[in-house]
């Protein structure tokens, strides 16, 4: 139950951070969401036990979700670095790390006539 609440807290905080404009907040949000995902994989693996080593008689924990979680951690680590690099590049180009409006949003906001090709 405590784990479930933790997952809930991490997910909601992470999602809140992702809705921010600045990429550094989004990166923090993704780190939290990544933790939430990994924790939910662990919860899915059932009750904890001793280290799952072949030949041991006692109750071991389920190794499969742990293997999945490990893969997921590595991937999210790499992607966090990539996002940081992206934020760095944006900083270099525009002086901040804000996610900008896409072209359509920009056109609508400026009230410009969409049909400009004539």
């Amino acid at each position: 139950m405590a784990l479930l609440l933790t997952v809930g807290g991490l997910t909601s905080t992470g999602l809140y951070l992702i809705t921010a404009r600045s990429l550094s907040r989004i990166i923090l949000g993704f780190s939290l969401l990544g933790h939430a995902a990994v924790l939910s994989l662990l919860i899915a693996g059932g009750p904890p036990g001793t280290a799952p080593i072949a030949g041991k008689a006692s109750e071991t924990s389920n190794p499969v979700p742990q293997a999945l979680a490990l893969t997921a951690i590595v991937i999210s680590f790499g992607l966090t670095l990539f996002l940081l690099a992206l934020a760095g590049r944006q900083q270099l180009l525009s002086g901040d790390d804000l996610v900008e409006d896409d072209l359509e949003d920009g056109r609508i906001a400026s009230g410009q006539n969409i049909e400009t090709d004539q």
């Binding site: 499969v64 893969t71 590049r89 896409d102 090709d117």
Partner: protein
């Protein structure tokens, strides 16, 4: 046969590593890339021939039981889509070699090896038999696509790349949580075993999982409310990169949906999918009409066309799935060719904006022909492959007209078809007819024209490929029918994977 399955995944991966090992701008790197891609495509074709003949082939990696280990399943659906996808990548690579060192070419030092990794991911996504490996395959595809999209570091690419990366990363995280849900509910992530056990779950849990994966795969496939990242980011990348993305990335999402939702029997989600499909088709086509750049028009049409495939799936009948698979096979090459023609236009005129192009039909009739054939096919004109594909999707819908959702989808499909023809006409008028505008005559803005012969050859090959699909439509249809029949009898798939 196991060697063929392994070759489609590993050959490009090894060649990516080997390509990075040699000096950056030596022709050897191009050679290694082409060898890896051709090897993968050739083994995919061989695999299709064998699987069509002898039936599903299963590879248990490391000989683990399917419940624990990775299984690769070469069934007819996977092996039908795979050769088409891999051949496209080979064609695009030839085009890319021709286009490099022009203003629009991808950075050749990186693009080759990254394209190999992407190819390996695509093969893995099509062939994998478990959801977690599917997640890893998606990540392989996405990570290389992130880099391919932003590696030139131009302002536009970074701006749209941020949206692209954030949206896809969010979908991946949701995928991971979805995996935890499936594992908690069924105790396995193997698609065959999980779908068998999902069928026995209470309705709420079962449809919850189905809806969760509809969102996850729907984001990757760019269906209606989740598509906003696509039309903004694709046109900013170098043409060859966009061509690969357009042909393959969203299609992998739809492929995963067709496989998972059919095997797990999510029929109740059908009406929702049909309404979403209707919106996807119409909104994509309307969005395209509002654009004034060839690449942006085509990008919006990717969204629109995804709707047709979703509609075929949403019917949850064997005829519907057949139509969706047929559409998938038709759509991948057609979309890629259109983007390659976009690249040729850029190369000739220095831009792909409709306002500053014109009169290309008289100067380069071959390019005009290369555009006309896939454009008519995209709009669904007979005798091209698009006609067969659209006709079977709409025909499958007409067979089920008792439900309101189906009627909405059929009407939307017809409307989107007309709108597609309209925006293809718009490109034709803007680029191929009319006066040559000031910008287009001044070739001075082009640094070097690149190897035009290689580019035209690659585009021509792809056009011939799309024509071949319409010429052999009977065979393709029969294979799609068999693949759909397999998907609708999960028992055969589950039996093949074993336990």
């Amino acid at each position: 046969m196991s060697a063929l399955v392994a070759a489609t995944i590993l050959a490009p991966l090894f060649c990516a590593a080997a390509g990075l090992a040699v000096r950056a701008n030596s022709p050897l790197r191009d050679g290694i890339t082409v060898v890896g891609l051709v090897a993968a495509a050739a083994s995919a074709v061989a695999l299709l021939v064998k699987v069509a003949d002898t039936g599903t082939h299963v590879v248990r990696v490391g000989n683990w039981s399917p419940e624990l280990g990775i299984v690769l399943v070469a069934d007819l659906f996977a092996t039908l889509v795979l050769p088409v996808a891999l051949t496209i990548i080979v064609v695009v690579e030839i085009f890319a070699i021709g286009q490099r060192r022009t203003a629009w070419g991808a950075n050749p030092e990186l693009a080759g090896p990254l394209l190999c990794v992407l190819t390996s991911g695509v093969s893995l996504a099509f062939l994998t038999g478990d959801l977690f490996t599917l997640f890893v395959a998606f990540e392989m595809i996405l990570v290389s696509s992130y880099v391919l999209l932003t590696h030139q570091g131009q302002r536009d690419q970074i701006r749209s790349g941020m949206t692209y990366v954030v949206m896809n990363l969010l979908a991946s995280t949701l995928f991971l949580i979805g995996l935890a849900l499936v594992y908690a509910a069924t105790g396995t992530v193997n698609i065959a075993l999980a779908s068998q056990r999902i069928a026995e779950l209470p309705d709420g849990v079962r449809l919850g999982i189905g809806a969760w994966f509809l969102v996850v795969f729907g984001t990757k496939a760019a269906i209606f409310p989740l598509f906003s990242w696509l039309p903004d980011s694709y046109p900013t990348a170098p043409t060859t990169i966009t061509a690969v993305f357009a042909g393959l990335l969203t299609k992998v999402g739809i492929y995963a949906m067709i496989r998972f939702h059919n095997l797990a029997g999510m029929d109740e989600l059908g009406p929702i999918m049909l309404v979403l499909a209707a919106f996807t088709m119409v909104v994509g086509a309307l969005g395209a009409l509002a654009q004034s750049d060839v690449k942006r028009i085509l990008s919006f049409h990717i969204v629109s066309q995804i709707g047709y495939m979703l509609m075929g799936l949403g019917l949850f009948t064997e005829v519907g799935t057949t139509a969706a698979i047929l559409f998938l096979v038709h759509h991948m090459p057609v979309k890629t060719v259109l983007f390659l023609v976009g690249g040729l236009i850029e190369n000739e005129q220095g831009t792909s904006a409709l306002a500053s192009t014109g009169g290309l039909a008289s100067r380069r009739p071959l390019i005009a022909a290369f555009f006309a054939i896939p454009a008519l096919s995209l709009a669904g004109m007979p005798p091209f492959s698009g006609f067969v594909a659209k006709f079977s999707v709409i025909g499958a819908g007409m067979a089920e007209t008792s439900s309101v959702a189906v009627i909405i989808a059929v009407v939307a499909a017809l409307a989107a078809g007309a709108l597609t023809l309209l925006s293809m006409t718009k490109i034709w008028l803007g680029v191929f007819w009319g006066e040559q505008s000031a910008v287009s005559t001044g070739q001075g803005s082009v640094e070097t024209v690149g190897n035009r012969r290689a580019m035209v050859f690659a585009t021509g090959m792809a056009v011939v490929g799309t024509l071949a699909i319409s010429f052999f439509a009977g065979t393709v249809f029969e294979l799609s029918q068999r693949a759909a029949a397999d998907l609708h009898n999960p028992a055969t798939y589950i039996e093949a994977v074993g336990s």
